[in-house]
């Protein structure tokens, strides 16, 4: 748990029960998915197992103007097609409003959704996504993911430097982060483990002429699957990958600023979805876990303060030859559970009694790589034990 976990809600969603009597037939002759409602499963909803590595996927983001976390998902509830659902959670992760696409959105909503990349909040608190059908990238509605007709949009195929596979339609853009204020466009393409960044060169706020973009560069982000991205602000975004690794990226400088991990990643976790709460300055993480045996939801919504947390303390290792009378420097390190150095952590070396030598260092604060250096001095040849403790402060 290398980031500070604040609290979690588990399960964070309550699925709708199957209606009686079984088999239930919905309007227009549609039936519930037998795989859902057939005993012992008793729920009519489940999250699809499509994370954002696919052409389309579940979308999770925080919408500042509503102060809500929103989850859009594909449900396999009804034969013969899928439907879209929207879940809403308040700032503390409590589910407060659920909307199922239902019959009225059966075809239209489903199709719209399947055309969409994973949508994300971007600049001006608006939601942006990619429509693979009409080859447009632009602002989408936070209520049903439809393209906002008078909103910002462009034909992404005409952006210079766009991978050939995307232009030809063989490869999909799975995520887009749009910062119109500073003119940065960050894309992640299916099956790529990098982020690609373009810069708007037309001056002012990002416009709609795709030819005015210039390829800015790329950044490797994972050796495994990328599960989700989250826009933080005009400089930063977060990435969560397979294995629960969290990466904070400054996309204006193409550099990683935080590398960490979620609490207790579990091999059975199906996917992770990430959202940045712009009001509270914290990360919301939706952990998609397999349903329970009776089909009940086991997903959790977890909140993290974006500060790495200490997880391991290495043993003190001398870095100079041990000589009686000499001051011997020892080094130890404080790390998170992704191996990242934890700086600013107070550590205290102490000699285990009985001891004849003396410590020349009372307490040390760890440096950039989580390293701390203390000194020990022995008056005479001796065998002694040096141990180190680290103080973990509350995340505040």
């Amino acid at each position: 748990m290398a980031l500070w976990p604040l609290h979690s809600v588990s399960p964070c969603m309550t699925y709708e029960h199957c209606s009686d009597p079984w088999p239930y037939t919905a309007p227009f002759g549609l039936t519930f998915n037998h795989n859902l409602c057939e005993p012992p499963r008793e729920y009519a909803v489940t999250l699809s197992e499509t994370y954002s590595g696919a052409r389309y996927g579940n979308s999770f983001f925080y919408l500042p103007r509503l102060d809500r976390y929103l989850l859009f998902h594909v449900s396999h509830a009804r034969w013969i097609n899928w439907e879209m659902g929207r879940w809403s959670f308040n700032g503390e992760g409590v589910e407060d409003k659920t909307y199922r696409g239902g019959v009225s959105l059966f075809f239209f909503g489903t199709l719209k959704f399947q055309r969409r990349s994973n949508v994300e909040v971007g600049s001006y608190g608006k939601v942006y996504g990619v429509d693979h059908w009409i080859k447009q990238m632009g602002e989408v509605s936070a209520s049903n993911l439809s393209i906002v007709t008078d909103g910002w949009h462009l034909d992404y195929r005409q952006i210079p430097g766009m991978p050939a596979g995307v232009v030809s339609g063989l490869v999909y853009i799975t995520h887009c982060i749009v910062n119109r204020e500073d003119g940065y466009l960050v894309l992640r393409v299916a099956n790529e483990n990098r982020l690609r960044v373009w810069k708007w060169t037309g001056g002012g706020v990002m416009g709609q002429d795709p030819e005015q973009f210039e390829y800015f560069g790329d950044l490797p982000i994972s050796s495994g699957q990328v599960h989700d991205l989250a826009y933080e602000d005009r400089r930063h975004l977060w990435v969560v990958t397979e294995g629960g690794y969290l990466i904070k990226i400054n996309y204006q400088r193409l550099r990683v600023e935080v590398f960490s991990r979620i609490a207790d990643p579990d091999p059975e976790d199906l996917a992770y979805y990430l959202a940045w709460d712009q009001r509270r300055g914290r990360l919301g993480l939706l952990r998609h876990k397999p349903d329970a045996e009776n089909g009940a939801c086991r997903c959790t919504l977890e909140f993290y303060r974006p500060v790495p947390k200490m997880e391991a303390l290495t043993e003190p290792v001398p870095i100079e030859p041990l000589r009686a009378g000499q001051r011997i420097p020892f080094v130890w390190q404080v790390t998170g559970d992704a191996g990242e150095g934890i700086s600013g952590c107070l550590t205290k070396p102490e000699l285990v009694e009985p001891a004849t030598g003396r410590l020349r260092t009372a307490a040390v604060v760890t440096g950039r790589s989580g390293e701390a250096l203390g000194e020990y001095q022995a008056a005479t040849p001796a065998t002694e034990t040096l141990q180190v403790t680290a103080e973990i402060k509350d995340s505040g």
């Binding site: 483990n193 990098r194 560069g217 790329d218 950044l219 490797p220 982000i221 994972s222 050796s223 495994g224 990958t241 397979e242 294995g243 690794y245 990466i247 550099r255 990683v256 600023e257 935080v258 590398f259 391991a312 290495t314 043993e315 290792v317 001398p318 870095i319 100079e320 030859p321 041990l322 080094v331 390190q333 790390t335 559970d337 992704a338 191996g339 990242e340 150095g341 790589s369 989580g370 390293e371």
Partner: protein, 305 residues
């Protein structure tokens, strides 16, 4: 023999790779080493005490080398005499996907120093790798030095210096590649599985065959105190300069050790009772011949290890 500083007790869960394919390199930004991962066992950071933390899943980069400054570089051959080099991203431990430069040669056991305009490579005839060869960035050979051991890796140690590591033979060479001279040629206590040069603190960190770590300081442990030399020969009413060289088990000089001098015979005098060995492992003193009577006396010279 280098001086052993630390013997770890933690046992590293080694990937299912041969030692030669392990890829154990120090990363200065981490103050820890990178150990190559496999699909079953992701890449890890290895700390000096043997603490291991997986930092990514299944990274399986075999084509990597060392880069001046204490970083790594990934290489990929594009065509004959054209190699793309990819920079290392220290936070995530991944390699950039766009090459940062092209060089004429970069293979296994190479070190890139762009500032010096060099690629150093441990190579040799057939499967051997006992020749350190320097190339310019276009791949032209500049010079070669031959050693007695096959090196497993060439790693950046400090500005202008490369560590040549042959952990299987238990040998370490610190080589000044700007002046083309070995600064240190020594051994570690016993053969290790793989080793790297800790460029933060100037140490050798090795993973032993049993999976534990050991850390050595590049100070050779004395094995032999040579013959004391008098210049000129000792005589009554005359001063003589004394020198003695302290060396390790493979003949390497041992600097920084205190040599104790004493006379048995009570005739002449010594300038000082102890002196410290210099960079060549030589300790110096002065002997003043007797004023009153001549005769034999014994000079005893000792080092406390």
């Amino acid at each position: 023999m280098l001086e052993l500083l630390f013997t770890g007790t933690k046992v590293i869960d080694l990937p299912a790779l041969s030692w030669a394919n392990m890829r154990f390199y120090w990363v200065r930004d981490w103050e820890a080493a990178h150990l190559r991962g496999t699909a079953a066992n992701g890449a890890r950071r290895i700390f000096r005490d043997g603490t291991e933390i997986q930092y990514t899943r299944g990274i399986n980069e075999a084509s990597i080398g060392s880069r001046a400054g204490g970083s790594l570089v990934k290489y990929q051959q594009v065509s004959v005499g054209v190699y793309n080099l990819f920079a290392f991203e220290p936070f995530t431990g991944l390699f950039h996907l766009t090459p940062f430069r092209t060089v004429g040669l970069f293979t296994l056991r190479c070190l890139l120093d762009e500032e010096a305009g060099l690629v150093l490579r441990a190579t040799g005839t057939g499967a051997s790798s006992n020749v350190l060869r320097a190339y310019d960035l276009d791949g032209e050979v500049l010079w070669s030095e031959t050693f007695a051991w096959n090196f497993q890796s060439v790693q950046w140690a400090a500005p202008g210096r490369a560590a040549l590591l042959a952990p299987g033979a238990g040998r370490v060479v610190l080589f000044d590649y700007l002046n083309r001279e070995a600064v240190l040629e020594s051994s570690i206590v016993e053969p290790a599985g793989t080793a790297c040069w800790d460029s933060n603190r100037g140490l050798v960190v090795a993973i032993m065959l049993d999976g534990t770590t050991r850390v050595w300081h590049p100070t050779p442990v004395p094995a032999l105190l040579g013959q004391v030399s008098f210049t000129p020969d000792p005589a009554q009413h005359q001063g003589s300069r004394l020198t003695v060289q302290l060396t390790g088990d493979v003949g390497e000089p041992c600097p920084g050790w205190w040599v104790k001098w004493r006379l048995v015979g009570d005739k002449g005098e010594l300038e000082k009772p102890h002196s410290r060995t210099d960079a060549a492992g030589v300790a110096r003193n002065y002997y003043f011949g007797p004023e009153l009577e001549s005769g034999a006396e014994i000079l005893i010279c000792e080092v406390e290890v």
